[in-house]
């Protein structure tokens, strides 16, 4: 989804509940900051109920109150694919299936905001992958392998290659 004010990905989904109708805004970080600054100047803060990504993360941003906490959440990194939550917020795309668990705390609020609910009730695959953790581990192993090759650590690379092959043929 694109930002309503520019071509960047919308990473902030804000529902304004001040008027008679709820108003939705989908904005990039820069425009969300601008929007929140504007609205906090214009409205009485007590009457403004703004629910945003990461349970009022942007609100904290404008208040500069919990900047360190926000920074910590942003810097949290997925051990499998290596993206930080900040990377996701700026690109609007996750890096691997494990991000849904790794960033669950941050994503839950966002998902509620977009879908209104958190639980899937539709179709489920008939093949339930008992080995899905192993498959996720493969992503990490492949990433490590690339790194080992780049660092010319050939012995490590060879071990990783064997491990990958083992999981792939299971």
């Amino acid at each position: 989804m694109k930002c309503q004010k520019c071509d960047k990905a919308a990473t902030f989904h804000i529902t304004e509940l001040t008027g008679t109708q709820p108003l939705e805004h989908h904005l990039c970080e820069e425009h969300a900051r601008e929007y929140l600054n504007e609205s906090s100047e214009q409205n009485d803060p007590a009457s403004t109920l703004t629910s945003t990504l990461s349970q009022g993360m942007a609100k904290q941003m404008s208040a500069n109150k919990a900047a360190t906490e926000l920074k910590e959440l942003d810097q949290q990194t997925c051990p499998v694919c290596g993206i930080s939550f900040y990377d996701f917020r700026s690109r609007g795309r996750l890096g691997c299936p494990n991000d849904y668990d790794c960033f669950a705390k941050q994503l839950d609020a966002l998902i509620i905001n977009i879908h209104g609910v958190q639980e899937h009730v539709g179709k489920t695959p008939k093949r339930t992958g008992n080995d899905s953790n192993q498959r996720t581990f493969l992503i990490k192993l492949r990433r490590d392998l690339n790194e080992a090759i780049q660092l010319e650590e050939y012995e490590r690379a060879s071990k990783l290659r064997d491990k990958i092959k083992e999981i792939e043929t299971e």
């Binding site: 890096g95 299936p97 998902i111 977009i114 879908h115 209104g116 609910v117 899937h120 009730v121």
Partner: protein, 350 residues
């Protein structure tokens, strides 16, 4: 190139058949799926992308009848052919424009297509003429089942099918219906429709999907939320709203017929006269006039041509289609001349 075979046929979704086909052009559904064992596309290496592409190609050749589909490697296709597939609404602009290993598995009858390595590893989408999302769902659900019997999808007990963007998580399903709403545009009622759709959390887009401008009075209406509802509930949501918009468009057409007869007849007749006689014409202007002619036919103001002829013109006057027919690349000026010639020929003028 093998995709040239498509030139002689009209895509199934453009046949002008199916329910409410004077207003509902087509119904589409897409499913977003990702494979386990690979990162999502933004983190995928070229090696990952190639493995995904090859895995899907192998599974497809096992699961689908030989000769029933084209497996198109986008890297081997020149830019004109890629745009051509996009104009037929088989692949997205993103798949046309990005680099790296990517492919499209296209059903020969153009009833479904699987994009590989677009925003998600797999984007399965199906389409049909007229208003019938259930038919499309049963079609692509079957395709999804076949793929799933050999592929392991990234699936989460709580969140459902996992997607690169959380806006698609859950069912990964987008149901969209393409509507032709010229009377609501003429009578300036269209904004009201949009506002009411936004209230019920449905999205309105132009003809080529996200971010595109409405051209030729065509609009796509689709669900926003993908999580927490079953696939049938998502279809029902769209199914409940479409007949209301159709009725509203018909009401606007009745009003034009009763109260603005000469004005609307003038608009349709001029459009026909212009397309029959123009010597050079842009794609946008063509779409605009074709929309008026389509309206004129459906309101009984114009006797010919038939709707499939109009649909043919919508499809074949687009830039890449014109160039494919012509057999070589054309400059914009040359395209505008070729387009006018094609229109004169098809509308019976020499």
């Amino acid at each position: 190139m093998k995709i040239d075979g498509m030139l002689s046929q009209l895509s199934e979704w453009l046949l002008g058949e199916g329910q409410e086909n004077d207003i509902v052009i087509s119904s589409r559904i897409r499913l977003a799926r990702n494979l386990t064992g690979f990162p999502f596309i933004t983190r995928a290496t070229e090696q990952d992308r190639r493995s995904i592409r090859d895995t899907v190609q192998n599974v497809a050749s096992e699961m689908f009848e030989k000769d029933s589909f084209y497996f198109v490697d986008l890297e081997l296709l020149d830019s004109l052919d890629r745009t051509y597939l996009c104009e037929r609404q088989l692949i997205s602009r993103e798949l046309v424009e990005t680099d790296g290993a990517r492919a499209a598995l296209i059903d020969r009858n153009e009833k479904f297509c699987i994009m590989v390595n677009e925003e998600d590893h797999l984007r399965i989408h199906g389409m049909t003429s007229g208003f019938d999302p259930e038919k499309v769902w049963s079609r692509i659900n079957e395709v999804d089942d076949k793929l799933e019997s050999r592929l392991q999808y990234a699936f989460h007990n709580k969140y459902g099918y996992l997607t690169a963007c959380p806006t698609n998580v859950g069912t990964g399903m987008r149901v969209s219906v393409m509507l032709h709403l010229p009377a609501l545009v003429v009578s300036k009622e269209i904004d009201k429709v949009f506002r009411s759709l936004q209230k019920v959390n449905l999205a309105v887009r132009g003809i080529y999907g996200e971010g595109s401008q409405p051209v030729g009075d065509f609009y796509q209406i689709s669900n926003q939320a993908t999580l927490g509802r079953t696939e049938m509930e998502l279809i029902e949501k769209v199914n409940n709203i479409v007949p209301q918009i159709v009725a509203y468009e018909r009401q606007a057409r009745d009003f034009l017929f009763k109260e603005r007869y000469e004005i609307i007849l003038d608009r349709c007749s001029r459009a026909m006269g212009l397309l029959k006689t123009a010597r050079t014409i842009s794609s946008i202007e063509t779409m605009h006039h074709l929309s008026s002619i389509r309206l004129g036919i459906n309101m009984g103001l114009l006797e010919e041509p038939d709707i499939p002829v109009i649909n043919d013109l919508f499809l074949n006057t687009q830039p890449a289609h014109l160039q494919k027919h012509n057999g070589n690349e054309l400059s914009q000026t040359e395209r505008d001349i070729a387009r006018a010639k094609y229109l004169r020929h098809k509308l019976g003028e020499k």
